[in-house]
């Protein structure tokens, strides 16, 4: 602006001011009015919305979705457009440019024009900037990982999604129909998606699949069920109950007393399907276990094609055409069969009839019937007679599809016998013949947990097991067994092993972890610890066995205390000697060392008591409270025990009768002193001390 322009402006401004209104009270009234309204809004916000206070900050909480405050959201959102190395543009370059633009504005826009229409560039940039900021803020709010609220309600699945998937996939994933999501998640894809097998359990993957296929199911759940049910409860519930609860409303017995709305009317068919898909993830294996295994057993066999199987499942009990036995059998036979069906033990004679007429279709399994009359009627009339549910009415299409797929896949699995051999050859060395586990040869001190418990198998599905076998578990020292990872087994063989493992689930050979020494913390004596833990390999008197013998003088003198300590503490690699340091306290190991020293068979024949192994514990328990800190005789270490005492040594090695210690213990001291004052030691303890002194009071 030139100086004339400046003068001109001041003059014009002066004119306008003269024509204006006084600051007080006209302008101030306007200002106060606006401020007052602002104040009312603030008070209303404070009253109605309050100021939230969430849980106390927990830096270790990995589930919390961090978000900046709303006025930084646009910046936050901006980052999404500048991935990787470009981030610096979004974070630094653009904001700095904006600030510099603002600061320099009076010098970049030097015209004397003031009306916005006269300054299209500045006006344009400002409006564009504002619109962009508003747009980004709105976008950030909309894209807020949905479960910010859901997570707060304890929706673990949504949290799982946010934690693991949202980072790359954003709030939703579009899944092409027919995608085997479970496989995609567990194995990853070629597009850089990692395999989640090691990070997520099979159950978690199931839950995620349900969530992805039915994202609305999550919302429906939150809206309709979450008030009364936790997600876990409903996921564990069986599909029939879920469907009945949906369809029957308060007619569903558990809901009889609940004031619940009519879900069937309120939720659209699509929403119902979403909800069911969400709750019972379309995972064939789970569905089979939950719904079919009760009648069909765990082994899956199928004949016919996919369409037939689907048809059969959808129609349920309607699929079988049982002949009407009313025409072929006499009434008494029918009656007998019916009685047998109702209670096999009550009428064993029916077995023959059943074998003759029924087992060609029913095999060994005896159908059930509600009452005798019902059974009679069913047998006489034939037709659809069994209670195979009409799954078409219970399961969603996705679930039936998954079930069919699973049946074919499972029926295809190789036989178990081959699996047993393969397991014995490849796995039993570490996992034990029955999968019971044991010391880990690859990692000293580690114990391999059993893999044949129902619990272990229930929580890992076939996919997971296959992955473990083929990829190994490098962290735990298990090498990969799959040939694609350099191992000896091809996919078919791995499938065989997995099927073999799976068979254990129903009938686990191992129920509890193996005798992992019930940590004998409470046991204080070296002898007890030795007998519990060491004796089974090293012999109860150190005579050896699987493990080294300790009894011989040669061994005893070849190994220092610290060497023995280390051996116990660290174990020996590639033997069954594990690192006990992880189980025992160092104090216990010290006691063990002391005890092992007493096992020296070539010393005094009976294994005379030693100071460290036998006497010191007695001293510490009964004497040290006074004779350790209060002067007089000190019994807390070998030197002092032998050398200190009032008026001469308390212990005369080899001469228990004249040792002051023994005299005070047994009450023969001429001064009449009896120790300990609280009461005499047990006879065995006294005898140990007497024996020890008699043996020359050896330190070890």
């Amino acid at each position: 602006m030139k100086s004339e322009e400046r003068e001109e402006y001041l003059k014009e401004y002066d004119e306008k001011k003269k024509k204006g209104v006084p600051f007080w009270p006209d302008i101030i009234f306007k200002d106060v009015l606006v401020s007052f309204l602002l104040f009312l809004i603030l008070v209303a916000l404070a009253y109605f919305l309050g100021s939230s206070l969430e849980e106390i900050a927990d830096p270790s909480d990995a589930n919390y979705t961090p978000r900046p405050e709303w006025y930084f959201l646009f910046l936050f959102q901006l980052l999404k457009f500048f991935p990787g190395d470009l981030e610096v543009v979004g974070v630094i370059v653009l904001p700095v440019i904006a600030i510099i633009f603002l600061i320099l504005l009076p010098w970049t826009d030097r015209s004397k024009r003031r009306h916005p229409s006269g300054r299209p560039v500045v006006t344009g940039i400002t409006v564009a900037g504002l619109v962009a900021a508003i747009f980004l803020t709105v976008q950030a709010i909309e894209e807020a990982p949905l479960p910010a609220s859901a997570t707060a309600e304890g929706d673990r699945v949504a949290a799982l999604y946010v934690e693991n998937c949202a980072g790359c996939h954003g709030p939703t994933v579009i899944v092409a129909p027919g995608t085997d999501l479970f496989a995609v998640i567990s194995a990853g894809t070629h597009e850089g998606m990692p395999s989640w097998n090691s990070d997520l359990s099979a159950d978690e993957i199931d839950a995620l699949v349900g969530f992805l296929l039915a994202p609305n199911g999550n919302e429906v759940f939150a809206a309709a069920c979450a008030e009364c049910h936790t997600l876990d409860q409903l996921i564990e519930a069986d599909a029939i109950d879920l469907r009945s609860a949906l369809e029957l409303g308060t007619g569903f017995a558990p809901h009889a007393d609940a004031a619940i709305p009519d879900w069937k009317g309120l939720l659209s068919a699509a929403e119902q399907a979403q909800l069911l898909n969400f709750l019972t993830a379309p995972d064939g294996q789970r569905l089979w276990t939950q719904l079919c295994a009760a009648c069909h057993g765990r082994s899956v066999a199928v004949s016919g094609d996919e369409a037939a199987l689907r048809d059969l499942i959808v129609k349920g009990g309607g699929h079988l055409d049982m002949p009407a036995f009313g025409g072929t059998l006499v009434d008494t036979d029918i009656q007998a069969l019916a009685i047998y069906v109702m209670d096999q033990t009550a009428y064993p004679a029916g077995e023959g009839l059943f074998a003759q007429h029924c087992s060609s279709c029913h095999a060994q399994r005896v159908p059930t019937a509600g009452s005798l009359d019902e059974a009679v009627a069913a047998i006489a009339r034939g037709g659809a007679h069994e209670d195979m549910p009409v799954w078409g009415e219970i399961l969603t299409d996705e679930q039936i599809g998954a079930l069919v797929a699973y049946v074919f896949q499972a029926a295809d699995l190789p036989d178990l016998a081959g699996g047993e051999d393969l397991f014995a050859q490849n796995c039993a060395a570490c996992h034990g013949e029955l999968g019971e586990g044991g010391p880990n040869p690859a990692r000293a001190g580690d114990i391999i947990a059993p893999i044949s418990t129902a619990e272990y198998l229930r929580t890992r599905d076939d996919q997971t097991l296959r992955a473990i076998v083929s990829q190994g578990q490098p962290n735990f020292g298990m090498s990969p067994f799959g040939d694609s990872f350099g191992g000896p087994l091809n996919d078919e063989q791995i499938d065989t092993i997995v099927a073999f493992l799976r068979a254990w689930e129903a009938d686990p050979p191992v129920e509890l972890p193996p005798d992992v020494p019930a940590v004998p913390q409470s046991t204080s004596s070296g002898r007890e610890v030795y007998q519990q833990l060491c004796a089974q390999c090293h012999g109860d008197r150190g005579q050896g066995g699987i493990g080294t013998a300790f009894g011989e003088q040669a061994w005893q003198s070849a190994n220092s205390d610290s060497a023995i300590f280390d051996a116990i503490n660290l174990g020996h690699e590639a033997t069954a000697m594990i690192a006990w340091g992880e189980i025992l306290t160092s104090q216990q190991i010290e006691q063990l060392v002391a005890y092992i020293r007493t096992l020296n068979s070539s010393g005094s024949a009976t294994g005379a008591p030693t100071f460290v192994g036998d006497v010191l514990p007695i001293f510490q328990a009964s004497c040290a409270a006074c004779h350790g800190s209060l002067g007089g005789w000190t019994g807390t270490n070998y030197e002092d025990a032998l050398n200190t005492g009032e008026g001469g040594p308390t212990i005369l090695p080899g001469d228990p009768d004249n040792s002051r210690l023994v005299q005070t213990l047994v009450g023969t001291h001429p001064d009449g002193i009896v120790m300990p004052p609280s009461g005499a030691l047990s006879d065995t303890d006294v005898q140990t001390i007497v024996d020890w002194i008699a043996a020359g009071a050896p330190e070890r």
Binding site: S35, L38, F39
Partner: protein, 219 residues
């Protein structure tokens, strides 16, 4: 009596001249958009008053901050009001500062003779954001903590000095009690002193140079 006291005081302070200059000056015809500045000032006063009241109970210590905020919000009489006003007032401040600035840009009010007023205004905008950022951590709840995690990580991207900058800002590698106390120090002492200084200059300049008139088309 009042007049005599006024005269007495005037002789010693000259308040009448100041009063005349501030309150009796004339203002060109303006519209409602011009109340944004005073509304911002009002929001600031609310923040100062409620902020001072909050410091009576708040303790910037990771063990106690959360408990003290909870105490203020849930147990003290009208604590919800004081904290609520401060909480929402913070958002109002940001909103108003931005709107005020947009008004100034649209009406070309940053031009001669108000360039310096404008510069102090830009500084006040940044200051307002700093207030928001430092204040957000103080309740030490999940939202506060994680928002600060994100906020400071964003800053870490700065080339060369990013890591150092973040470490200095946080008082270490991670958010800790040190972060809390320095955010508190900044929020309660450093930023307010700068704010008052700048607001003082800003208002002085507004009074001295007057408020712009609404520009007419073609002006």
């Amino acid at each position: 009596m009042a007049t005599r006291f006024g005269d007495w005081l005037n002789e010693r302070s000259g308040w009448r001249a100041a009063y005349t200059m501030v309150f009796l000056r004339k203002i060109p015809k303006i519209n409602w958009a011009y109340t944004l500045g005073s509304a911002t000032l009002f929001a600031m006063i609310i923040q100062i008053v409620t902020g001072i009241l909050l410091t009576l109970y708040y303790v910037p210590d990771p063990q106690l901050a959360y408990a003290s905020v909870g105490y203020i919000t849930n147990e003290l009489p009208f604590g919800w009001l004081i904290r609520g006003l401060h909480h929402w007032g913070a958002s109002a401040m940001v909103l108003l500062v931005v709107l005020h600035m947009v008004r100034v840009i649209i009406y070309g009010a940053y031009k001669y003779p108000r360039e310096f007023t404008w510069i102090t205004g830009v500084a006040l905008l940044l200051l307002t954001f700093s207030f928001g950022f430092t204040g957000y951590l103080l309740p030490w709840d999940q939202r506060a903590y994680w928002a600060t995690v994100v906020g400071t990580q964003i800053g870490e991207v700065t080339p060369v000095v990013g890591d150092t900058l973040r470490a200095v800002m946080l008082g270490g590698e991670e958010i800790s009690g040190l972060t809390l106390s320095r955010f508190y120090g900044a929020h309660v002492w450093v930023l307010p002193s700068v704010l008052l200084l700048l607001v003082g200059i800003h208002i002085y300049l507004v009074i001295r140079n007057g408020i712009t008139s609404v520009p007419k088309r073609g002006e």
